[in-house]
Point group: C2
Chain length 268, copies 2
């Protein structure tokens, strides 16, 4: 039996979406036991409970020796408000676990990776069940929790994957891992191309010494009052060239149901 | 005679707005000579000319020994694409000048301040003439260029002022000045409150050791699918408290015609 604790470091998940994930797991993955922490359903302004509640839920799940994996149920925004305190509260039992999510929860994945705690992995959130093809995204995660390996890495170097804005906010903080020698995959959603360009300026300055950059999907770009004049690949290539970071091509990550699982670090 | 060169490091300015600024200056400030660089009116995708053209215009204006001040005519986005190269190309004549603007052009002001070049100052752009009350904003700048002092500083410590997103993108880069012991004023426009909160997480981590933070106006906040649960003052106070940065109250800056002039650094 694999025991998975679900928490929401940012926004809450809707009850019916959690129920759909539970039903799918019960029907197809009887050896995976999912437990949504009650905190996942609390609403407090923007957040799934206030900072103290979200912090306590994450720390409780991470420190529980009977839990094999912590799965972030939703992203949204809010992980940075609890991540520094969370890192300080993690004991021995947090080290043998997998931590899985993406988007805003990358703040916690980054902090865990910096501190060498457990096995952080980029991958779908439970809330992704709402997307077209979302059930397949959930199955992908449940197969991974069942022991099926993530897709073969594209590169020999240790790899991480982040939402671009999340990585930009992480850069330079006490949670930022050392990504020297790493392949860094980034994806973005719902940002103007000028904002994507601006984020690349910031992020590539923080990634000097990286082994390379791969570009995930940049989706739901809002229409601006003028065309930006280059697409997301040209933007990534431009900033990689300026910072002497090899541009390695595309990555199969994004705010969509096809988003693959990317375990952080080396694979062997 | 005070000679002022206008350039656009990001977006172009519309010709009729430039003409309105020229007309106001000619009528009321005959001792201030304004010269819009032709680059200000070029359109290249998002930008007022490609990177090489925008870089050349700024460097030409900054290096011209007959120019007393470089005034950024528009912000938008794009200064970070030319700022590192610009810093490397500035000679002796750039040191005796005033550089004035805000918003995206804060990237250049920050880089100049880091390198101790000239007198960077936060203040209205020529393009602000389009705003309600915009003529007064232009008069404020032209009086400053004429030698009238900026408003008395609120604090004894050296002060800087930035757009919050611009400062967030500057943080950790080769253009970021050392703001230890400084009062840092920040303002924002057209960002969700959750995004403002996220930017404060990032920026306050980079401002440890600052003398304090003052909050300018946070305007045109888009409506979100849920209320954030606290206002911009509560957000600033929260992050200042977490980072042990004194929150000093409000600052009279923002994306509006009332935006005051804030010379960077100490005032004596």
């Amino acid at each position: 039996m694999t025991r998975v604790a679900l928490v929401c470091p940012g926004k809450p998940i809707r009850r019916e979406r959690a129920d759909a994930v539970l039903a799918l797991a019960a029907a197809e993955f009887p050896h995976v036991e999912l437990a949504f922490h009650p905190q996942c359903f609390v609403e407090h302004g923007h957040f799934a409970g206030d900072d103290a509640m979200r912090l306590a839920a994450f720390v409780e799940a991470a420190n529980d020796p009977d839990v094999d994996a912590v799965w972030f149920a939703m992203g949204g925004y809010g992980a940075c408000r609890i991540a520094p305190e969370a890192m300080a509260a993690l004991g021995e039992a947090t080290r043998a676990k997998t931590y899985l999510g993406y988007s805003d929860t990358g703040i916690l994945l980054g902090g865990l990776y910096r501190h060498g705690i457990g096995r952080p992995a980029h991958g779908p959130l439970a809330g992704d069940i709402r997307r077209e093809g979302g059930e397949d995204a959930i199955r992908r995660v449940l197969r991974f929790f069942s022991g099926e390996p993530a897709p073969e890495p594209l590169d020999a170097a240790p790899t991480v994957a982040f939402n671009l804005m999340t990585l930009a906010m992480l850069a330079g903080t006490e949670l930022m891992p050392d990504l020297t020698g790493h392949v860094v995959m980034v994806e973005e959603v719902a940002e103007h191309l000028y904002a994507v360009d601006r984020l690349f300026f910031h992020v590539t300055q923080a990634l000097k010494g990286a082994a390379g950059l791969r570009l995930g999907r940049v989706s739901d770009v809002p229409e601006n009052d003028r065309p930006f004049g280059m697409d997301e690949v040209a933007i990534a290539q431009y900033w990689c060239a300026k910072s002497a970071i090899p541009y390695l091509g595309r990555a199969d990550i994004g705010h969509d149901a096809a988003n693959i699982i990317v375990p952080f670090g080396a694979r062997n």
